[in-house]
Symmetry: D4
Subunit: 164 residues, 8 copies
């Protein structure tokens, strides 16, 4: 497999069922990625190593998912110069997801996190591809093709619903 | 001026005092951008033209700010293959900003918007620079330098507070 | 079937189980309607065509349902001179419905959407009938009769509960 | 003055500064209206008389504004067969407007209220005009012209911002 | 059965499973009550008759339960001089109960509703008994005894938990 | 002055500007009351003495106001057999009043608090008068007269607004 | 068993399934505790006795869990000089936990409660151990060891996920 | 000055006006503390050094204040074995404080933060003193005396209000 261009990390293996969707999308677009667990609270040193070295290892985008008081995306964003996409995960004992959304979205001036919707890991994968595509014509063309696909799927459903 | 790499758009000129911060940051990093008004609700045709042609005109990232039921970032994201950064603007009659945050953040599967904090236009500018930097070493180096700057400013404040 | 007077549209076929209630009500009142899928984000061109031509094709009211960051009702309202009724749909991964409510309700000055309750598609159908009835005596009389029906159903329940 | 086609009512004279915007818009479109105070809680009998007779007196749409536990729009909607537009007013001691929004929007099945944005009285006026326009070609043409006006105002601002 | 002193009303028979708890408590205290359906939106005339005559028929307290945009408690309070206890009911399609709570609680100056917790019908029954007890020594004594009962039940549980 | 029938208490003298409205209303109705500070958190013993003896000293209703994590109304209600009216006060550092509303309203089964609107001290006074009036014809007649007053004040405003 | 150093109390036995996690953690660290029911609303005298005597009986920390309008942690904190840890419990009829969180967290100046996450009883146990550890080297060493354990468990999961 | 027992840290000097209250309280109790700026996002390495060495340098409690997506308290808690008190600060562009509250409070299992009220820095200072007092009789006695002071201040206000 080629060098990963996207790093997908999450705070806990309980986030994997949600976060897998980011990996799955990148698979369909043949974009190389790596996927692992990095916990801001339980493995802080590992988080720092991961974030500090990410751009040196060739990663171009980091996708970070976490639930509750979700500090992983913001902390990684404070350590790396790469764009970081944050996925708020609806964890057990979450207050309807508000906690993870706000603790990822409301970053202070200087340290942005590109936040996507609650449990929006697939969109995080798409956003990563769009970011790569902004300087990689082949990927951008795939993103254009993907939008056509989306439209055609809806058109198929329209035909079905209108022929009833 | 060189060809703009970032497009900064907003739904209304009342959003300009907030959105200017994105432009100001890009100025400090010598990243060329264009800035204009594109209203999803009042100039829908213009929005479509803008979004459809953005990547052809050389733009690599779009920053879109809007308040209330903020449809501009999401609609532009549905039309362009570029990464779109959404800035929820706290407008008059907003319900504490919840309306613009949720109508930008909670995009359906397939159409991501990279949402930043309420009135977080400066962070949108930084995120755009990080995105460009992910394939442009010179800009990435500037982003690393910028992080050093942030750190040094805090260290300066630490010296002041500790010497009191 | 006669020319449709009401257009019922929704962002996805997953909204159909909710939105069907609008159609069902119009059926009971013999008001002609059309029902289809129009996605603001996946079929933006179709949305524009639909909204631009709606009043020319004889439609008098549009009912638009969508979930999450729900842009369909507002975008259609920005393109048509017709009254647009917005139905916030409680979609999967919604934050308790707040996202769809606020992104439909909080429209900027100039572009109103007549918002009904969360999953309130039946009420959207009734509101469409009331709108038609405001200039069509026959439909208005049906609306008066419908109110009587509602009252009589409650009176029936009162008799049952009081005779226990 | 001609027979009013739109009734604008509000729960208290403290709502007038907000609700006046609905009347002002109708004035610009030469649509006859009446404006008065009808309090669900302080003049319930008057509310019933007003709502029961509205369609007989020639009104075609009712706009009702109220704050806090706002019962006026829903109660009027339960008594009249006309379409009722509800305007949540941000009153003193309101909890950021949530109280008026939810007590107007979340009507039970059978009794719709066409809710607009918080303090959205101007949009209520526009919605009333769109409703009249759905069966009155002259008003519909004005609504089309109004949309053009909105667009042109934005285009004027675009020229200004782009020439800076 | 003796003349009812408490009237228990609700907007719909779907509220009965919740509201029954108020009646059950009054039964245990031998306080006469009546229970029926009164819909603010579907039987407004009946609501007015009920509320206007309540104090003349000997009722001393009214308990009113409703869900969603819950107007029954407030409207009844505007018509009767009696104390009205409002029970916010968590209905289907409610937004986590916020709608019924706020539309019952946030009454305007002049028309109070004594609001209890979400689905708090039993507490409404206890509050009605406390109100009667404030001028009826026999009932007040029962309320004192009831508090003793509550304490003893907890003490029983304490013994159980501490002996484990 | 005659024996107080209503006790008005509050957690802090900073609540007095809000709570005074309850006293003012009772003054207009010639209902004797006492007003003092009782802090659940700073004078817990005093709170217990006050609440335990209230009904023995002739009080028939207690009005308790507090802000933030507002425990006074609920704690007093747990100690007295009297009806307790809770007034959520919007204090400094409150989160828009949600904290005081929820910590007064959401009492557990067995211990009701009659909650009124945020800063609704005047309504608390009216509710206390209605409670007394439920067994005191003279006060009930005053409450009926008060409702007439409210109506007449609105009618006066209607004349003014309609004559413009 | 040695003298308890931590008191774990809860408002009702229905809180036990949540609160047990605090006890379980202390068991694993061999820290002596007592666990019982103390209801602010149903056994106020017992609460006062418990809180007043806690520090005299050798307790060093109190953990108090409660749901809804949760007054136990704050009331106990007002009576004892010990640090009190509050656990908001998601009870039946709670409004998503907001009621217990806000009525525990938003304590007035002078009376702090150390609030942990919704249903966060295990964290309450850990916090109690950290508090004891701040002056007890043996316990602090255990807390350091516990953090290592947490890290090692994550590292184990990392190996599993990366070897897939 | 003696060795600091409490470390007061904050993410930015803009938090100082709020956080100073913690220091002021400790001053009144003659408890030695240190106060400085430690930014999770701008000086992550400094944060790690500070947190890792805190218990070795003799600190027994850490008070950490931060606003918005407030990661400092939780990150410090993940690195130190000491009890960490988190103060949610209402920063500029905060969404009414919800962001800082939830990102401090909703910590995952294993890493507790003792959260106090919004802008509750004084209570953080008191909580720190109570924690020290749990194993230091002299400080505990001061805490008992402080509670007496609070009570006496209220009693003074009672005399004033009752003598009016």
């Amino acid at each position: 497999m080629s060098t990963p261009r996207v790093g997908i990390i999450m705070g806990s293996d309980s986030d994997l069922p949600v976060m897998q969707a980011a990996a799955d999308f990148l698979d369909t677009q043949d974009i190389a990625y790596e996927l692992t667990i990095v916990s801001a609270h339980r493995t802080p040193e590992r988080m720092i190593d991961y974030a500090n070295s990410a751009h040196e290892r060739g990663l171009q985008v980091i996708i970070a998912g976490a639930g509750g008081a979700a500090h992983l995306p913001g902390m990684v964003a404070s350590l790396t110069p790469l764009p970081v996409i944050g996925v708020p995960v609806l964890s057990r004992n979450s207050i309807d997801g508000w906690d993870s959304i706000l603790s990822i979205l409301q970053m202070p001036s200087g340290i942005p996190v590109a936040t996507v919707a609650l449990d929006g890991a697939k969109n995080a994968g798409i956003l990563a591809a769009r970011i790569l595509g902004s300087s990689d014509k082949a990927i951008q063309d795939k993103m254009i093709a993907y939008k056509t696909e989306l439209r055609e799927k809806v058109e198929e459903k329209i035909r079905k619903i209108e022929s009833q």
